[in-house]
């Protein structure tokens, strides 16, 4: 294939600015799919039903385009994950391209992830083409958005006005890709150098690896060495998605596709790894590789202990297509046997939790999320703590270090003071403010990540009336005055409710948590004390008085069936609670920790 006729590109955007819809339009326009077969948002089908359909989710689609210049081109549209938690994966997908379409909603304008993605694309050396989407909507202000783009340093003359929903601007976009995005460079005769930018697991085919070739070529029988993982697998199939899975003879320099090689586990494949010829390897792998490490942790416990194996199976199944997800068995005195799970971020955690409940129908308790702490013990030994319950006794600790992140918030200037106040309350360290455009300020703070995993995003949205958007990256671990706050219910420590907090906040958090639990835990047959403690020191106490009334006052001939149902409902309610010592605690109690400020 003529390398000069290849265009590799991706679409980047802030959430909901119309990325998936535009991808659909491009697929339709190039004839990859007819509008009759068109299922909305083809590239974005998390939905299990569709995932189990004929095609595996395409992470990259090959398209044929006959341009107005009379030539035929091959486009590779590479999908990028859409959230701040997946910045690393996004950067790897970008690295597989030469161009990027930057979509901006014509009424929302530039947002935090617009900027973050733009910078990622620029850093990856991509030719960025701005697309102003949703111009058909009332409230669209393309002129304003053009100004914002100029202020970002983009060429507004190149911006394309579009409405993916209405199909406006699609052809102009495709022509711009031909004209502005450079073709790939490289040498087909050199040894193979290719980048893995994604992978997925298919029940029938095993692991499918998505890659982009910079030099060399690959075909069936090729012995592919993954340089970072240090493992070699023999390629059994090479192909492209069109968008259906299509096996082809070979792939060469500049091309994007997939291979299958009897790989059993997605975790054997590292995003960002370099593939080369095991008998004639390149000297050095591609730069910028990072081991993906989970940042946020929490415990998942089945409400019904008999469902432990069900939960385990479900996590293993999810893991097949979600390599950043990690989990290992742990046990809690309060909750029994469960798993400590690690996630890239809060959203990732929420996705996993929701899928477990929705797709696997598991009734479970998720404990309060936390970050990974580094504890330096008196003897100098360093231990990593991903579960507050495991924090060593105060006497053994020399220092506790917690992860800090650099948070970047984009907001209209009128919410600046609210947001700065929020960041300050979250122990943030001010870095700088800068006007990105006349109506957008970018605020930078260094904030302990633990403060952000609680409720930061919700509060940010509420203090900015929904206008502010944020992005973050990990900086380092820093020394902090941290203590473990325990909750005792009826004098028993409920380990699953323990949290690590800054010493200055311990008292107010303890008090608030005790109060919330008092509201959430229903009255029992006896008085129940709720205490918050640091070590052996009780810092707050509430008490739930004994239950005094639970009666059906009136029960005659016509009522009996109804009353039975009422009793059955009560019984179900009791079953859903977790028995800790003698006390029945509802699942919401374990979320209460999340809701305190």
């Amino acid at each position: 294939m003529d390398v000069n006729k290849i265009r590799n590109f991706c679409i980047i955007a802030h959430i909901d600015h119309g990325k998936s819809t535009l991808a659909d339009r491009i697929l339709e326009f190039t004839g990859a799919i007819s509008s009759r077969d068109m299922k909305e948002q083809f590239l974005d089908k998390m939905d299990l039903e569709r995932e189990r359909g004929i095609t595996i989710k395409a992470k990259a689609v090959r398209l044929n385009y006959h341009s107005k210049d009379g030539q035929d081109y091959v486009f590779n549209l590479i999908d990028t994950p859409g959230h701040v938690d997946f910045t690393y994966e996004v950067s790897k997908s970008l690295f597989a391209c030469e161009g990027a379409l930057l979509i901006v909603d014509a009424s929302q304008g530039v947002e935090a992830q617009t900027i973050a993605n733009y910078h990622l694309a620029k850093d990856a050396g991509l030719r960025v083409i701005p697309v102003i989407n949703k111009i058909d909507l009332q409230g669209a202000e393309p002129e304003k958005v053009l100004l914002q783009l100029e202020e970002l340093g983009l060429n507004s003359d190149e911006a394309i006005l579009a409405s993916a929903k209405e199909g406006i601007g699609t052809e102009a976009i495709l022509e711009a890709l031909v004209r502005l995005v450079p073709p790939p460079r490289g040498h087909a005769e050199k040894p193979l150098k290719a980048l893995i930018f994604d992978s997925l697991y298919d029940v029938y085919k095993g692991v499918v690896v998505f890659f982009r070739i910079f030099d060399g070529s690959i075909k069936t029988g090729f012995k592919a060495l993954m340089m970072r993982a240090g493992r070699t697998f023999e390629v059994t199939e090479v192909g492209v998605f069109t968008p259906g899975m299509k096996q082809i003879e070979s792939l060469s320099c500049g091309e994007v596709g997939y291979y299958i090689a009897n790989i059993k586990n997605v975790s054997d494949v590292k995003v960002g790894d370099t593939i080369t010829d095991s008998s004639n390897p390149v000297k050095a792998p591609l730069p910028g590789y990072k081991e993906i490490k989970p940042m946020v942790f929490c415990g998942f416990y089945p409400v019904n202990p008999n469902e432990y194996n069900l939960l385990k199976d479900a996590l293993e199944k999810l893991k097949l297509n979600d390599s950043p997800l990690v989990f290992e068995p742990e046990s809690s005195r309060a909750l029994g046997f469960g798993f400590r799970c690690g996630f890239l971020g809060l959203l990732h955690m929420e996705i996993v939790q929701e899928r477990l409940e929705r797709e696997y129908n598991i009734n479970m308790i998720a404990t309060c999320p936390n970050v990974k702490y580094k504890v330096i013990k008196q003897g100098g030994e360093v231990v990593e703590i991903d579960n507050p319950a495991n924090l060593p006794a105060p006497g053994e600790i020399a220092k506790v270090l917690e992860p800090y992140i650099l948070v970047s918030i984009i907001t209209p200037p009128e919410f600046m003071s609210n947001i700065m106040e929020l960041c300050k309350a979250k122990r943030g360290v001010y870095v700088e403010n800068q006007y990105v455009t006349t109506t957008r300020v970018q605020i930078h703070y260094e904030i302990p990540m633990a403060e952000v995993v609680f409720d930061f995003f919700d509060i940010l949205k509420s203090v900015s009336k929904g206008y502010a958007s944020m992005d973050y990256e990990y900086i380092d671990h820093r020394d902090s005055e941290l203590v473990k706050l325990d909750i005792l219910v009826a004098t028993e420590i409920v380990d699953a409710l323990s949290i690590i907090v800054h010493r200055e906040k311990a008292y107010s958090k303890g008090k608030e948590l005790a109060l919330r639990l008092k509201e959430i835990i229903p009255r029992q047959m006896f008085e129940v004390a709720i205490q918050a403690a640091i070590g052996s020191k009780i810092i707050a106490r509430e008490s739930i008085p004994a239950l005094r009334k639970n009666v059906i006052a009136k029960c005659y001939g016509g009522d009996i069936t109804r009353k039975r149902k009422l009793l059955e409902k009560q019984k179900e309610g009791k079953k859903r609670m977790k028995k800790i010592g003698r006390v029945d605690i509802p699942q919401e109690a374990f979320l209460a920790v999340l809701k305190i400020q």
Partner: protein, 382 residues
């Protein structure tokens, strides 16, 4: 039928779905009769037809005419109803025959009529003696109205009178309730039913409380009220025989005991429920549709359900335990073929540990503390 086989007995419930005006807490199948001329007559025709059809082959040991308010019917209609019941069903000569009545609808003539036709127990809905509480409840009568009705009933010859009261009403105080009890026990009725207000969805009061118009007294005050009532009435010589019912010895309501002992009863009228053997059934609720169905099919059952063994067992327990005498271990074994303790050793241990349930002379019964927490006990058996 063989002479040696005793005729099977059953209680008979007769529903009158009409009232003077809807009370704010009421979720019963009842609506004001005014403006629907002709409906009552057609309804009674259908009702008597159903009674004739459903009571065939059964000896009726108790009758309970409830509602609604049966006494909202005109004298002629009341007469037709009571005479019809005696004519269309085989009523035992010692049967207990109760009729509900509300102050304000019970005239001297109606009281006299009921008694003379064979009604021997009258249940009067007083609910409260306090004007402000009656208003919150949406009752249309006053305390003096009640006294008048009570007097009519006595003069007509009734000695077996029940007075209905409600506690736990928004705005009610412990003191106000105490005064209610004092006033009522002064009258020495044979029977007092006193219910903790249940806020039923769909009622006006439910909406009022949800909208913050009123606040309920709360569980602690409710419990204080309950145990105060119990003490006051027991001191006055009443037997506390069911969670919400008190009677002078021997005056317990035989009809209601049929429900709690899970014995057979026939439910007639719109929305009425019945239970014969393992079969529970419900009639259609709407009176007009009821009339149509009876005319067409002589039957207005829209739901019937055969109880599973497990359901039967749990009903026997949660109904039986409502009575303070408790559940007879012998009867339990006779009925179910199982030993209570073999089935429920674990549950009994747990509940007796919590001082909610106890065993006494071959009976399993709620403790004093268990009465107002009885659902905690019942859920263990459903």
């Amino acid at each position: 039928m063989s002479e040696l086989m005793p005729e099977p007995t059953a209680g008979l419930y007769v529903h009158i779905p009409f009232c003077l005006s809807k009370c704010r807490y009421c979720d019963f199948n009842s609506s004001p009769l005014a403006g629907r001329s002709g409906l009552a007559g057609a309804y009674l025709d259908a009702l008597l037809e159903e009674i004739a059809a459903r009571c065939r082959g059964r000896k009726i040991s108790t009758v309970f005419a409830g509602g609604g308010t049966p006494t909202v019917l005109a004298e002629k209609e009341l007469e037709k109803l009571i005479r019809g019941i005696f004519k269309n069903a085989c009523i035992d000569k010692n049967a207990e025959f109760s009729c509900e009545a509300n102050p304000g609808t019970l005239t001297a003539a109606k009281a006299k009529l009921l008694f003379e036709l064979g009604v021997n127990r009258l249940s009067l809905g007083l609910q409260s003696t306090e004007a402000k509480i009656l208003k919150v409840l949406g009752r249309v009568h006053s305390w003096p109205d009640f006294l008048k009705s009570y007097d009519f009933a006595g003069k007509a010859g009734f000695t077996n009178i029940n007075v209905d009261l409600i506690f736990g009403v928004p705005g009610q105080t412990l003191f106000g309730l105490k005064r209610d009890i004092c006033k009522v026990k002064e009258l020495k009725p044979a029977h007092i039913s006193i219910y903790n207000l249940i806020l039923e969805e769909g009622t006006q009061m439910h909406a009022d409380v949800k909208n913050g118009l009123y606040a309920l007294p709360g569980e602690d005050l409710d419990a204080d009220m309950y145990y105060m009532i119990k003490e006051m009435l027991e001191t006055a010589g009443y037997v506390h025989y069911e969670i919400s019912n008190f009677a002078r010895p021997g005056k317990e309501c035989r009809h209601n005991i049929i429900y709690w002992k899970a014995q057979d009863y026939i439910g007639t009228g719109a929305g009425a429920s019945g239970k014969l053997g393992k079969e529970r059934s419900d009639n259609i609720e709407d009176p007009e549709q009821y009339i149509v169905l009876i005319k067409k099919n002589k039957n207005a059952i829209i739901r019937s359900q055969k109880l599973s063994r497990k359901e039967e067992l749990s009903e026997t327990i949660f109904l039986g335990l409502r009575m303070l005498e408790g559940l007879s271990l012998t009867t339990f074994k006779e009925r179910t073929g199982k030993d209570f303790f073999v089935l429920f050793e674990k549950e009994f241990k747990k509940l007796s540990g919590l001082e909610l349930l106890k065993e006494e002379n071959g009976f399993i019964k709620l403790t004093g503390k268990g009465l107002f927490l009885s659902n905690e006990v019942f859920v263990e058996f459903v």
